[in-house]
Structures are given as C-alpha cells and as structure tokens.
C-alpha cells in the first residue's frame, strides 16, 4: 500500500519534471527564434556597416560620383530618389484614397464588386516587382513615349505601391467605430459630410502610417526602376530626365563595377538609415496621434 502510494508520487514527480523539461525546451526554442529575428537586421547592418561606414561623410552625400561610382558621392542619386518618390506618392495618394473609400464605404467586402476588386489587389500585391518594371518599360517608356525618365519610374513605382496603400488605407477606414456611422446616420449627414468631417479625420493617423509604409516600400525598390527611371548619374533638372535611384546605384556598383563594393556598402548604409528614420518618424507620429485621441 505504502509503496504503491510512493511509486504514484514518484510517477507524478517524474511527469512534473517531464513537463518542466518540455516547458523549458519550448521556451528556449521561442527565445532563440526571437533572438534570431532581432539579430538578423543587426547582422545586416554590421556587415554593410563595416565596409560602408569608413566611406561615409558629408562629402559623400553632397558630391557627384566619379569613375562610374567607385569614387565620389551620391548626391544625384539622393535627388533622383526623392523626385521619383514624390511622383509616385502624388499619383498613389489620390487614387489609393479614392479606391479605399470606395471599398470601405460604397461596397461590402463580400459583395461581387468588393470581392473582384479585393482579389485583383491581392494578385497585384503578389506580383514580383520586376514584372512591374517590365510593364512600366513597355507602357510608360515605349508606348506612351516617356522614355527613360523620372516620370516613367515614378508611375511604374506607383503601380507597384498602389495595392499596398489601398489595402492599408482600407483597413484604417474600416477601423472607424460603428457608433460614429450610426450617429452620422441618425443626424442625417450626407455621405460626403460623413467622409469629410468624421471618417477621414478619425482615420487620419492610420492613413498617415499607410502613407509612410508605402514610402518605405518605394524607397527600397530596384527592379521596377532600372528599366524605367534608368541609370543616369546626373542631377535631374526635369521630370523627363533619366535619374538613377539609390537602390539601382547599389545594385550596379556591386554587380557591374569592379571595385565598386565599398561605395555600394556606403550607399546601402545611407538607404538603410533613411528607411530607419522614416520608420521611427512613423512610429512617433502614430503614438502622438493616438495620445491626441
């Protein structure tokens, strides 16, 4: 009898130990995956930073490249990138906002039109970026006669960023509390008045985040731009000029130019810092706006 109880205790303890052991293993596994995720961007920064930081200086940011980019700076690429980004966002924001408003206010998600638009957006956002590049080259550069230009590049980039912007904006708009909608209806507000006075202001902070996410995505793009905005390393003076984006510059230096690696790394550091700054700004703004609410 006594031995029976004892063995039961022992068995229980063993089970408990087993459970503890299992728990520890799982905890360790989860911790290590988390650690891996954190260390990945740090490792990336480290590898390009070691090679890139020694080249980095104010001079590097403010001069034009020489010797096919092996020496000199990246000023024209910085300016071209900002131009392309401007054209991209000026195109994306009105079209994207309009489409997101239509999706969230005029149709329900399970209606036929809602489903068709949703499906095409999902397909578009899954398309590899080189396809947008070839599309932009065929349509904007050749058929519409824009040639290799900032305008072709910005518009092709807009095609790629549009689905992302619409989807995130749509989510922002759908997050508007039902109570607001009911109140608006009870007050017999017109749809326009509701959208302009209540919906857009209340969703503004989240729309701003959608805007910044799209900016980050556009900044990082290479494949779309190499055949549309082009390869020219001159400060663009007009939107019909060709201009090389930072990402294209990195690609070309590391792939085509013997000895271009150090400057490619330095340019990559600049691009990474730009993206980190934009993300931080987005984070701060969204926090501040949440506090205001």
């Amino acid at each position: 009898m006594v031995s029976n109880i004892k063995s039961k205790y022992a068995a229980n303890e063993l089970n408990l130990n087993k459970a503890k052991f299992k728990h520890n293993i799982i905890a360790l596994a989860i911790w290590s995956t988390a650690l891996l995720t954190v260390s990945l961007p740090l490792m990336m920064l480290w590898t390009i930073g070691v090679e890139g930081f020694p080249q980095l200086s104010l001079q590097f940011l403010l001069t034009e490249p020489t010797h096919a980019g092996r020496s000199g700076g990246i000023l024209p690429m910085l300016i071209s990138t900002l131009w392309i980004l401007c054209i991209c966002l000026v195109t994306v924001v009105p079209i994207g906002l309009g489409c997101a408003l239509y999706l969230s206010e005029c149709v329900t998600a399970d209606s036929t039109i809602g489903r068709i638009v949703g499906l095409s957006l999902d397909v578009l956002s899954g398309v590899p970026s080189i396809v947008f590049g070839l599309f932009g080259y065929a349509v904007f550069a050749i058929q519409l006669g824009l040639g290799f230009s900032i305008l072709s590049g910005g518009l092709s980039l807009a095609c790629m960023v549009l689905p992302l912007f619409i989807r995130t904006t749509e989510q922002a708009l759908r997050a508007c509390p039902t109570a607001y909608r009911r109140a608006a209806e009870a007050l017999d507000l017109s749809l326009f008045a509701f959208v302009a006075r209540i919906l857009l202001p209340s969703a503004a902070s989240n729309i701003a985040i959608a805007f910044i996410i799209s900016t980050g995505r556009a900044l990082a793009e290479t494949a779309v731009l190499i055949f549309t905005a082009g390869y020219v390393t001159r400060i663009p003076s007009h939107w019909s000029d060709s201009g090389r984006a930072l990402s294209v510059h990195i690609y070309d230096l590391s792939m085509n130019v013997p000895g271009g690696q150090p400057n490619a790394a330095a340019t990559a550091v600049v691009l990474m810092l730009l993206i980190i700054v934009i993300n931080l700004v987005a984070h701060r703004l969204s926090k501040r706006w949440q506090l205001l609410e």
Partner: protein
C-alpha cells in the same frame, strides 16, 4: 480633439503638396540640350557612362544618357528607336545586319576557380566535359574528391554566347548548378565556393585577383589569361565591345562614337580593365 489633430495633419499634407509643386515648377525651366540615349550591355554601361561624362565636359550643351539591361536589349532598343546607340559586348550576328557596329574596346573571357582548388589548368575537353555534366567530380581532372559546382551565365548575356561558340556547345547541353548575371556576381560566387568553376571577363577577374579575392584565372588552350595576351591578339576567347547604330551615325551620334574610339578615351577604357582598340 479631432479638429486639432486633423488640422495638423492637413496642414502638413498641404505643406508637402506645395513643396512638391515648387520643386516641379523649378524643374520646368528646362534648358535645351543635345541629348543622346544609349542602352544595352551591363558590361559596357559603366565604361560608356564615364566616357559620356568626359564627352559632356568637352562639349558643353550635350547630354549622354546611358541605360543598361544587356546586349539584347541594346539591339532591341536601337531598332525600336528608344536609343540612338546600343551597347553590345560581342560581334553582331548575321541576323543583325541591319545595324552598324563600331568597336570601342576588347575584352577576354577566362574560366575561374577558387584559389583553394589545387587544379592548375584545364584543357578544352575537360572544360566541355565539366560543363556538359560528364565530369562531376574534381578527382576526374586530377583534383581532390569534391563535387564540382558549375556556374553558368544567364541567357542573353554575351559572355555566355561567346563561351558557347568557342566550345561549340548548346546552352541546353549545359548542366549548371548556379546561374548568374553579371561578372561581379560570378566572381563573388566563385570566391565563396572552393569547388566552383565559372567564367568571367579577364579585366574584372585580374582586378579582383589583385584586390585579394580568392580566385584563380585558368586561361584557355594553354594561353595564360591576361589583358596583355588579349592585347597581343593571341588569346583565343576574346570579344569586341561595340556601339551599334541604325544606319550610319550622324551629328552628335557620330561625334560621340568618334570620341569613344579616340586616344583620349583609351585611358578611361583601361581604367575599366578593358583593352583599347589602338593598343595593338
């Protein structure tokens, strides 16, 4: 509260819009330039871009815009009129007789392996056997017992076409483990894999070897791979780097091509590890 917040947001959006309009308008006072667009070979693009900058300095009021994308694109864009000049890093084929070709430099191609690989040389038969998958281990050519990683170029690259033509191979016969696009990518692949073999431009390989990349240049048919050998004309696997035009070049197109073939351009050509045409 919403009012304050939305005021802020709309004010910042308005500021953004105005600044964009300001930037755009400031760009509108466009000066008229004599503009020339070139597209094509990614091997040639960095060289021609620098030649273009030198040309612009000598001829104020001109603009040389260089685009990239591969020799095939250079030919397509020149035919379509999107570019006045195409850059092609091989001789024109008989199907491309509608274009005029102007050689601006030469380049040789060399098989490369990792420095850790003890192999000293391979003959043509061995290279063919490796690339067609008949030899899969370095042991078969006198090396250690290690599987061979075959690195091949992507379709549409002139280095690939030249390589296939020299060894009389068809791309479908080649069993490649890695497909690469550019020379630099090829060198990086070989430098990172002790048992890989690939082929790249001699100029960039020589430069990277001097810079300390762990690669070894094998040469072809007993001829050592070096820019000097290509210059002397006795290196079998070499190519010409050409500018192509639709019809005889005129005006700006003509003066730019003449500049790229001039002795002033030769120094820039050499800086890019190619061989100038008048070096022989």
């Amino acid at each position: 509260m919403y009012k304050v917040q939305s005021m802020r947001i709309f004010r910042s959006i308005a500021a953004l819009v105005f600044s964009i309009i300001a930037v755009t308008l400031s760009g509108c006072e466009q000066q008229t330039f004599d503009k020339l667009t070139l597209t094509g070979s990614s091997t040639l693009a960095p060289l021609v871009m620098e030649l273009g900058q030198a040309f612009e300095k000598r001829n104020p009021g001109t603009r040389i815009d260089v685009q990239t994308g591969g020799s095939s694109r250079g030919i397509a864009d020149t035919r379509a009129g999107l570019a006045s000049i195409g850059m092609v890093s091989r001789s024109l084929k008989s199907s491309e007789n509608d274009l005029f070709s102007h050689t601006i430099a030469f380049d040789g191609i060399t098989p490369i392996i990792n420095k850790a690989n003890p192999i000293k040389a391979l003959n043509d038969q061995q290279i063919i056997a490796i690339y067609t998958g008949k030899i899969k281990n370095w042991q078969a050519v006198g090396g250690p017992d290690q599987a061979i990683t075959v690195v091949n170029k992507a379709e549409g690259r002139s280095t690939l076409e030249l390589f296939l033509k020299h060894f009389q191979l068809d791309n479908r016969d080649i069993t490649a483990d890695v497909i690469i696009g550019d020379n630099q990518q090829g060198i990086k692949t070989i430098a990172g894999n002790p048992w890989a073999i690939g082929y790249v431009s001699i100029g960039s390989a020589e430069y990277e070897e001097r810079r300390g990349s762990p690669i070894k240049l094998l040469g072809i048919g007993g001829v050592k791979a070096s820019t000097t050998a290509v210059k002397q004309g006795n290196y079998p696997l070499s190519r010409s780097l050409n500018l192509v035009t639709l019809g005889t070049p005129q005006g700006l197109t003509q003066s730019f091509i003449e500049f790229t073939q001039s002795p002033q351009a030769a120094a820039i050509v050499e800086q890019h590890y190619f061989i100038p045409i008048d070096a022989n």
